[in-house]
């Protein structure tokens, strides 16, 4: 049984008199501890899929099984309880946090709501979470506004792992970060996966980022899933025109080095 099984998911939007098929008949699966990279041009439906999966918006049709639950049918207390197992990290926007919040309160919320550890142990757990994502425990007292974008993303990751999830949905989670920081965050995510067996649905328009962390890559185009396969397969041997276009668009470092000479030996 797969950790996640999405079947025939569809969703339309109508805005300003236009009707958009944001998601058309999308099916995919994800195993425990696996990373599926979800690629596609802007507007191809990646975030719609992520938001339906996270139960932030409803689907028009299709089913999702997550940890053997009929995920879209869950509601109320049952949904709240199960939600601990599926967490999210979005693109760094301060708006994702209450601006007056401290780092400690951001991490305390999930621990309290999902009753992860008893109240008396929460400060210790918060310190451990911060250390796990590479921040000093003393950061707990800081305001969320005082920390840099890269540090905020570490805090978002700490919040996501606080509830001991089996799946984390990441939507453009590293897209706004500087390259040096981005690399460190990707390394942290891979370490956490290896240590805790977390699966990632990793949404990004940047194929180079997906190549770094994904076991498999799925490509979306205009609401449809047009290709899915092992990451190396999709990158080295793309079958869809959408995948080929994404590959061609990744900027390559041109150093102007002349072709390497062959020396006689």
């Amino acid at each position: 049984m797969m950790l996640l099984d999405i079947a025939n998911l569809s969703r339309r939007f109508s805005s300003g008199g236009r009707d958009v098929a944001a998601l058309s008949d999308v099916s995919l699966t994800l195993a425990s501890g696996e990373t599926l990279g979800l690629a596609g041009a802007s507007g191809s439906g990646k975030s719609t899929l992520a938001r339906i999966l996270l139960r932030l918006i409803p689907a028009d049709g299709g089913t999702i099984h997550f940890e053997e639950n009929d995920w879209l049918k869950l509601s109320g207390a049952e949904l709240r309880r199960r939600r601990a197992k599926m967490q999210m990290v979005f693109q760094d926007i301060l708006g994702a946090f209450n601006p007056r919040a401290t780092v400690a309160s951001v991490l305390d919320d999930p621990l309290r709501i999902h009753e992860i550890v008893p109240k008396a142990e929460r400060p210790k757990e918060i310190a451990a979470l911060l250390e796990r994502v590479g921040l000093p425990a003393s950061y707990a007292t800081r305001s969320i506004r005082e920390v840099s974008g890269g540090q905020r993303q570490r805090i978002a990751i700490a919040r996501a792992i606080a509830t001991r999830p089996s799946l984390i949905v990441l939507d453009e989670a590293v897209s706004a970060l500087d390259v040096s920081i981005r690399g460190k965050i990707l390394e942290l995510l891979v370490e956490l996966q290896q240590e805790r067996g977390i699966a990632y649905l990793f949404v990004s328009h940047d194929l180079a980022v997906l190549r770094a962390v994904s076991h498999r890559i799925a490509v979306m185009e205009a609401g449809r899933l047009v290709e899915i396969g092992a990451a190396s397969q999709v990158i080295e041997n793309p079958r869809s025109s959408a995948a080929r276009a994404l590959i061609a668009a990744v900027p390559r470092l041109v150093t102007g080095l002349p072709e390497r000479h062959h020396y006689d030996v």
Binding site: S42, E187, H205, A212, V213, A249, P251, R252, L257
Partner: protein
């Protein structure tokens, strides 16, 4: 080569901020070149762009010199065009695309509205907007992000400026649109023999078409030179770090692709 603009000992400090945003920067802009300004966020790239454009906020303290070969600074909006990361910032939401592309040409080149509209239509064709006659009558919100950026480029180029400053002009776009916009910019500035100052945090993106690169860090220029020289034999340790942290499709993945 005689520089179009010689910048010497430039330091900029924003009002109410103790730390300078730029410190003692020496750099030349050569006529007709594509100069890439590269650095991570907060390194001072936009401050340099604003200083060149004369767009610093009131109260900013500027030291140092900026000497233009023609004796005086190019007039922003006429002799110097800008394209920013967020095209919405340079487009007025309540004016039609045609009105805003035509406006600069009318005001700065003394064209009649009719002539300015023809110019706008011509510019939209040059930035390869599909159905330009229809887009002329559209409002910014009716276009996609990539199309809005094409319109912003059309508006910036409508007066035929000699220099264009593009500050993270493709950073908010997806990669496919980014690649299209970069090749469009490259083609248009080549055609017109324009000078381009291309500001980006992405060293690989710049490496594909810049003539010279200047690497910034914490408000200082760490290294500048021809793109090939700086990227193959960087002199500065920070430049090396920046190059090492670049990832593309040939970079070894961080995970092993186990059988799943």
């Amino acid at each position: 080569m005689s520089a179009l603009c010689e910048i010497r000992g430039l330091s900029v400090t924003y009002q109410g901020h103790p730390v300078p945003a730029l410190t003692n920067v020496d750099i030349d802009i050569h006529p007709g070149e594509r100069l890439a300004i590269i650095g991570e966020s907060g390194s001072g790239k936009s401050t340099l762009a604003r200083t060149i454009a004369g767009l610093l906020p009131a109260g900013a303290r500027v030291r140092g010199e900026m000497r233009w070969s023609i004796g005086q600074a190019p007039l922003p909006g006429r002799d110097m065009g800008f394209v920013f990361q967020d095209p919405s910032a340079s487009l007025n939401p309540v004016l039609t695309i045609g009105e805003q592309v035509a406006e600069g040409a009318r005001r700065n080149l003394g064209l009649t509205w009719k002539a300015a509209h023809e110019r706008a239509l011509d510019m939209l064709e040059r930035v390869r907007i599909p159905d330009p006659a229809k887009v002329l009558k559209a409002f910014p919100h009716q276009l996609s992000g990539g199309q809005r950026q094409r319109v912003a480029i059309a508006a910036a180029l409508a007066t035929g400026p000699g220099i264009l400053i593009a500050d993270e002009a493709t950073s908010a776009l997806d990669m496919i649109v980014q690649a299209e916009i970069v090749s469009l910019l490259d083609e248009l500035v080549r055609e017109a023999g324009m000078t381009l100052v291309f500001i980006t945090h992405d060293v690989a993106l710049a490496s594909g078409f810049a003539d010279r690169v200047a690497i910034f860090r914490n408000g200082e220029l760490v290294e500048a030179g021809p793109v090939g020289a700086v990227l193959t034999a960087p002199e500065n340790g920070y430049t090396r770090t920046l190059l090492a942290s670049h990832r593309d499709l040939s970079t070894p993945p961080l995970i092993r692709e186990a059988a799943t």
